[in-house]
Symmetry: C2
Subunit: 607 residues, 2 copies
């Protein structure tokens, strides 16, 4: 393609809101433009790169036998009601009621659409397993869309779903999806961090996220340099780290006793006052849990949880009973933090948040700052694992200006629930091998997940097995954000001058830049351009009347992997330069086509 | 691809709602499924055909230098407010207010999105002309979606827009779009009827619709067998056809006079009573017009229209003044009908409808059935051209049970406006050459249109011309419905057994069908399959364990253009049969690959 026929509005400056490098470079290189908050238009050059990423994903999906479908983007609300997600998806799902009062949804994902489709088509075990996918528009109404394509409202997702008659078959597809994902990201030139979601165990997992490091990532990744353990901090576990020296390290026989702590509120103040360490302090936080599914009333051998007798409990017909609101006292060692996602998972709650001051005072019978687990009867106590390894500890006494010392967990209080609810951070020890964790921020590009029967059950998908008996298929889902993958490639492949596309996703493989597009230079440039195009190379000819410096800057900015410069002083040689390298080499013009085509082919072949 | 790896749920029966052949066959061939009213999912086979159509459109757009973009599907309501279409698009446009109170639209078309984008990018005449397009999801909230892909709610449209510094440049792009459209439909195997929208003139038109004949088409096409004139009846004109014999044919000197017509209401009753013909009767209908932009108050030499002095008139700042409501008496020869679209255009009104009985009685001062133009002073009279050619006519007398005879238009009444407002029908004479029209129903597949300044003006798009002066670009728009094109191909290419795909849009070029997939038949089938695939032919191998009859029926249903049957009794020959032909020919198995590949290549090359 000739630049004069292209539309490539490169920019020197970009809006201040473009803080990440991919956002800045996509704007500067004339690849995208913002239409509104979180809504972008791909310009021709950006669309070419987008299609390359899409093409790689499609090839790898087809290679493992997944079949491409194209459902509608707008789908009926009805199927979301069937699955139960109409209620749980929250305001991020864009819902419309149309003129004839039908509820519609602009798809944020498509478990429902594919289950609704295939339950009408799959009737026999002979049709299983089946893997289906689409690469299609999605919409999620992000409250704060930002970072350009990294967190937009509308985006393109490859979402695949598989249906199986047994777990072994699901696992087989799950594994081949994982392999395909690795191939996709490798071909895109991306270093991904595969993060298995269930903590600890390294095999037989049912969920894997593919992360890329990003300073603005919305995931905190906990990584082990030795064994490769990688987890989102919302799931990460660590090896136990009992306090071994100093305050709180040794068991005491002294009875638990109150100690006056006037005008002391923070842990730091308390430690100074008592000459102890935060590691000897049991921090107690009152949490409010929403839709908690724990069986707080107790049943069989399980005792009822303290203070929960009067709680409202909802018993739906087809799903577990839950408490719309319940409060808990959550204890963690004073130097550690509670991770609310881990806490919510432990409490089987849809959401947890710190209780209001009024609730804290009501529950603890004391001003804020004096909560503690000892003799607390108004709410159940949840103790982090770290607490149960503590000795001779200090904690709030449930009275103003009073703490308790010589507290021995187990002796002085028995938690209702002991769980791993602490936030794991860099420096903690690996749960698998004991090495010291490091941490990174990451963005999720892909996720593969064993869904099980969630949708096939709620939406009533059945098939007949070998014995003519009705069975529910088990299901997996597998997503990749296409735009986010594209942006991440730029995040990983750029320098001060612009983008440095890997060959496989470059909008063009080669650019031919005549110093001036006239006379012999024009002839040679045209000949090389035509030759490369005939050889199947995607080539851009800069036929603009611009100064060479401007052309070079633009070509560097848009990141074309190979540049061929045709200048009078070098003829009959031309200059061939790789974008990622500093130096150019001179090649006889007559050999340039075959030489450059070889470079392109070799890089495309190196998957 | 092997059938065993494909998902192709063919059906014998389809829902009764599938009344058109494309809908039936798309369902039966397992190419689409309905998710909800007007919302469809493409299954793998259907998606392959869809991509072929999309690919042809893309190639032809690229060939004329149009540049592909990808705007978002969900766009801000704000840009629709800017263009003024937020108000005029009606309830067919799907609007959402999101959680942060932003108005969003699921795009029904994209004049606004592209104008908003390019007004920020185009600053100089040097950047013009530019043609841009997308192939993307659209949504229109059809009240009664039906006929499968023909009238769905969500669909894919190729929509292109061009921007120009002058009319000559717009016309050049408009002409090349027209050529590209002809090429697209030709390559899709479609017989389209290009319909120029402005009546009469055959050159220099500013709008052309590409129609396909369809029994369920929503357009009435008026066609000339001799000169090729083709028009939508909403725009069609015809040659004048004065009454030359019988009642109403001769001028009279008798004065217009009342005649009692007791208990006579319909034109037929009146003609029987007066022993005259409908052609001698001036039918007068009272219409209510909405947002009429005619200058009814008169200015300069133009007189004010009768009875309009007290009408409410709105004078907006940047657009023409209009009357929110105005009434008109519309006269047409008794045997003809008023076309409301033509009438609305003549009245520059957004909408016209017959007035209520109460309004008719108020305006005519008589019961319904006695309206006439003579001495009518309460509303302006609009006379169709046919009326002004009438003589010695009969019309209502504005009194119950009374008509007027010997009416001479021009002598006995002078219309406020004479216009062409009649419905043209088969049998009328061609406006261009006088031959007799025939009529067809048609569906619009594409439309090219000179928009002019509508959007660049309302949305404030400006560039600097050669003299550094700010100018507004003029604009064209060019749409094709991709799904509808696909469905139309099936409408035109099918037989009793199923679809008969033209090679260029077939989901696969060739199917190889072994009578049984075992032994030598398997070996030969595999060899031909591999050979064709290696030759770049898209080939489907029916490796299922089904009876040959079932396989043949399926392959006929899904319409693969070439079938290669490998049967024991014919070996070493195989049977090669074109889907569209009745007879097969025997070909030596070793020559089958090259022979079949040649057929495919030849048909793909024949554009």
């Amino acid at each position: 393609m000739k630049m004069s026929k292209m539309f490539m509005p490169t920019l020197r400056e970009v809006p201040a809101e473009a803080v990440v490098v991919s956002h800045r470079l996509l704007l500067r290189a004339g690849m995208i433009r913002k239409l509104a908050n979180g809504l972008f238009t791909y310009l021709p050059l950006g669309l070419r790169a987008f299609r390359k990423v899409e093409g790689i994903i499609r090839e790898e999906m087809n290679a493992i036998g997944a079949l491409e479908f194209k459902p509608s983007v707008v789908v009926p609300g009805e199927i979301w009601r069937e699955s139960g997600r109409w209620e749980t998806m929250g305001p991020g799902m864009l819902r419309v009621t149309n003129r004839v009062d039908q509820e519609l949804v602009v798809s944020p994902t498509a478990e429902e659409a594919f289950t609704a489709l295939l339950r009408g088509e799959i009737s026999s075990y002979k049709q299983l397993p089946i893997s289906v996918y689409q690469i299609n528009t999605k919409y999620r109404d992000e409250i704060r869309p930002r970072y350009g394509l990294m967190r937009a409202r509308e985006f393109t997702m490859k979402d695949a779903y598989s249906f199986h008659s047994d777990d072994a078959s699901l696992d087989e597809t799950y594994q081949s999806m994982g392999k395909a994902y690795r191939a996709i990201f490798r071909r895109c030139g991306l270093s991904v961090i595969p993060v298995r979601a269930d903590s600890g165990a390294m095999g037989g997992t049912g969920s894997e996220e593919f992360m890329v490091e990003s300073e603005v990532g919305d995931n905190n990744l906990i990584l082990c340099p030795k064994c490769g353990y990688a987890a989102n901090d919302e799931k990460a576990a660590c090896a136990p780290d009992p306090v071994t020296t100093g305050p709180g390290s040794a068991k005491t026989d002294k009875p638990c006793a109150p100690i006056a702590t006037p005008a002391v509120r923070t842990i730091d103040e308390l430690c100074a006052f008592l000459k102890t360490s935060p590691k000897a302090f049991i921090k107690t936080l009152i949490y409010r849990a929403v839709n908690c599914e724990l069986d707080l009333a107790g049943s069989g051998a399980a005792a009822a949880a303290p203070g929960t007798a009067g709680l409202k409990r909802v018993v739906p017909e087809n799903s577990p009973a839950y408490y719309p609101e319940a409060f808990f006292a959550v204890c963690v060692r004073g130097d550690l933090d509670v991770n609310e996602v881990k806490l919510a998972a432990s409490l089987k709650a849809s959401e947890v948040a710190l209780a209001s001051d009024a609730d804290v005072e009501r529950i603890t019978g004391a001003p804020v700052g004096f909560a503690g687990p000892v003799a607390l009867a108004t709410v159940p106590v949840v103790a982090d694992l770290s607490v149960m390894a503590m000795h001779d500890a200090v904690t709030g006494a449930l009275k103003a200006d009073l703490h308790l010392e010589h507290v021995e967990p187990g002796r002085d209080f028995a938690p209702y629930l002991v769980a791993d609810v602490r936030t794991v951070v860099a420096g903690d020890k690996c749960a698998s091998c004991g090495a010291e964790y490091y941490a990174k921020k990451g963005n999720e590009l892909g996720h593969i997940f064993k869904l099980g029967y969630k949708y096939t059950k709620s939406m009533g998908m059945l098939y007949l097995d070998e014995n003519g008996k009705q069975q529910m298929p088990t299901m997996g889902c597998y997503g990749i954000g296409v735009d986010r993958t594209l942006a991440s490639i730029i995040e990983e492949h750029n320098d001060a001058d612009g983008i440095v596309w890997p060959m496989g996703v470059a909008p063009f493989h080669v650019c031919v830049v005549p110093i001036k597009y006239e006379g012999t230079m024009k002839e040679v440039a045209d000949r090389i351009y035509d030759g490369l195009a005939a050889a199947g190379v995607e080539v851009l000819l800069d036929d603009r009347e611009e100064r060479p410096g401007v052309k070079f800057k633009d070509m560097d900015l848009i990141g074309i992997p190979v540049r061929v410069v045709v200048g009078e002083k070098n003829l009959p040689n031309v200059e061939v330069k790789l974008r990622r390298e500093k130096d150019a080499s001179l090649v006889d013009a007559s050999a340039a086509v075959s030489k450059v085509a070889d470079i392109v082919r070799a890089e495309l072949a190196a998957r």
